[in-house]
């Protein structure tokens, strides 16, 4: 597979504090792959995601997007506060197109197609306050994909959901990812979610709060066959992957 994005020896230090969060982080993400980042709380996962999004600039090192063909539009879903409460579902999903000045019929069609894809047909005119947490995150997902980004960044997108909804959302996400040519980089706290979704799991280690900046300590390819069904979670292979990741995090 072609490389989609490379991170070379990136350091990151927040300007408003001497705290060095990331040191010497290198990784590469194959085009069209599904990469999941796990690690303890406060280690710097969201910081890395923001660097990939271009929201932060590396203090040193380089981040290169190698596949320029379809532009380097990105879609992001955060853990919370994703939606604009004053916009309806349709209006929220339309935002990325609107910002590009695309307001025509074609835009409306893409919006409707995305709403259908995430299973929210019938809720087009609802406001976020009227949606459940899971529905709101689906809207955020639809919005992150409507402008056909080449890179989808997900920062614990299902973190606030209950376990059942979360599992269902994971499966939906796989289905959507398989239907679209998009590279996914996702942060999660759930080890089983990571194994279930990923082509490759990256483990981040360190303790920036105590003077040990974080880096990628392990990378584990997950070679479970696709399409993955829910039942795969009970297999010995799956549990072995999960145990390996748990061990890597605790090191």
């Amino acid at each position: 597979m072609d490389t989609f994005l490379t991170v070379e020896r990136v350091d990151y230090t927040f300007e408003d504090g001497p705290l060095s969060v990331l040191a010497d982080v290198s990784l590469s993400i194959p085009a069209g792959s599904f990469v999941v980042l796990v690690g303890p709380s406060g280690v710097g996962k969201s910081t890395l995601l923001r660097l990939l999004a271009g929201l932060l600039r590396p203090s040193s090192g380089r981040i290169t997007l190698t596949q320029q063909s379809t532009g380097n539009a990105i879609g992001i879903v955060f853990q919370r506060d994703n939606l604009m409460p004053w916009r309806t579902v349709t209006e929220n999903v339309r935002l990325p197109l609107e910002l590009q000045g695309r307001n025509g019929l074609a835009a409306s069609r893409s919006v409707q197609a995305m709403i259908d894809l995430v299973g929210l047909a019938g809720f087009e005119q609802s406001y976020p306050a009227q949606l459940s947490g899971g529905m709101a995150q689906r809207v955020a997902l639809a919005r992150a994909l409507v402008h056909q980004p080449t890179l989808l960044l997900l920062d614990e997108p299902f973190g606030a959901l209950d376990a059942l909804t979360r599992e269902r959302m994971g499966q939906e996400l796989l289905r959507i990812w398989q239907a679209m040519p998009v590279t996914v980089f996702m942060v999660t706290h759930s080890i089983s979610e990571a194994v279930f979704l990923a082509d490759e799991v990256l483990v981040m280690g360190g303790d920036p709060g105590n003077g040990r900046p974080a880096a990628i300590t392990h990378r584990l390819p997950i070679q479970l066959l696709r399409p993955r069904r829910f039942e795969v979670q009970g297999t010995a292979e799956f549990l072995e992957y999960a145990a390996a990741i748990r061990a890597a995090i605790q090191q």
């Binding site: 992001i76 506060d81 604009m84 004053w86 916009r87 309806t88 406001y127 009227q130």
Partner: protein, 256 residues
């Protein structure tokens, strides 16, 4: 109690209003107060009919309104860009906020005479006083409102390469709207007070403030009451208008 709670709000308001009038009336009858000390509701009503009938009430009300509305509008127009600047620039905030806060420590009623010295036009002096009164609460709310958009939505806009203008119109302004409208509600009622203060200090020939002052000099206490009721009605109507606007603009704040 249960029976009362089940009645519609307007009915409860009507009942309490009639009760108030009745209590007032009885107070005047039993207390046998002079009319110029405490006129009864009947006296006030009679006086209202007189000044409404000869057009005086409307004339003076319109004058006062013509000060209130520009005062509010100008206050808003100055507070908006200044609020944006203060919300966006920590430097501007550090430079300006001491003066803004100090200016609030001086009551407007004390600044008003100075304004009448500096501004030769009676009308504009009054408008300016109204502006001064509404300016600060609106400014504070604009700053708080503009700061209320969550960091995630800023990051979203940046990740989508939004321009500054787009960030303002599609994120900051709508996010600020609830707090801004709350400020406008306060400002709307304050602007009436402001215009009145202006008319007290510059009581030339017209406006409800002028009517109030002359009525008092002539011991026409019932006319004083008429003016008070009119002022209350104007302030309430403006409050109601902003509330209606709020209901429309913030219809997304659906109760779950």
């Amino acid at each position: 109690m249960k029976f009362l709670n089940a009645q519609p709000t307007w009915l409860m308001i009507l009942v309490s209003f009639v009760g108030l009038l009745l209590g007032w009336h009885l107070l005047v009858v039993w207390g046998a107060y002079d009319r110029f000390i405490l006129p009864g509701p009947v006296d006030v009503w009679r006086q209202l009919m007189i000044v409404a009938g000869d057009g005086r009430l409307l004339k003076h009300s319109l004058i006062t309104l013509s000060e209130v509305l520009p005062g509010l509008a100008i206050g808003l127009l100055i507070a908006m860009p200044l609020g944006y600047l203060l919300a966006k620039s920590p430097l501007a905030e550090r430079l300006l906020s001491p003066y803004l806060i100090a200016s609030q420590a001086i009551p407007v009623i004390a600044i008003a005479p100075l304004l009448t010295i500096w501004v030769s036009s009676t009308y504009w002096a009054r408008v300016l006083v109204a502006t001064l009164v509404v300016f600060f609460p609106i400014l504070i709310n604009i700053i708080a409102g503009l700061r209320s958009a969550p960091a995630e939505l800023y990051e979203l806009m940046h990740s989508l390469q939004a321009t500054r203008r787009q960030i303002f119109s599609k994120l900051e302004l709508p996010a600020a709207l609830p707090i801004l409208l709350a400020g406008l509600k306060v400002g709307a009622t304050l602007s009436v007070i402001g215009a009145l203060v202006g008319e007290f200090v510059q009581p030339k020939s017209e406006g409800l403030g002028f009517l109030l002052v002359t009525a008092r000099y002539q011991f026409k206490t019932d006319l004083v009451f008429v003016v008070l009721v009119t002022l209350g009605t104007i302030a309430l109507s403006m409050y109601g208008l902003v509330s209606a606007l709020e209901k429309h603009l913030l219809r997304w704040q659906v109760n779950k």
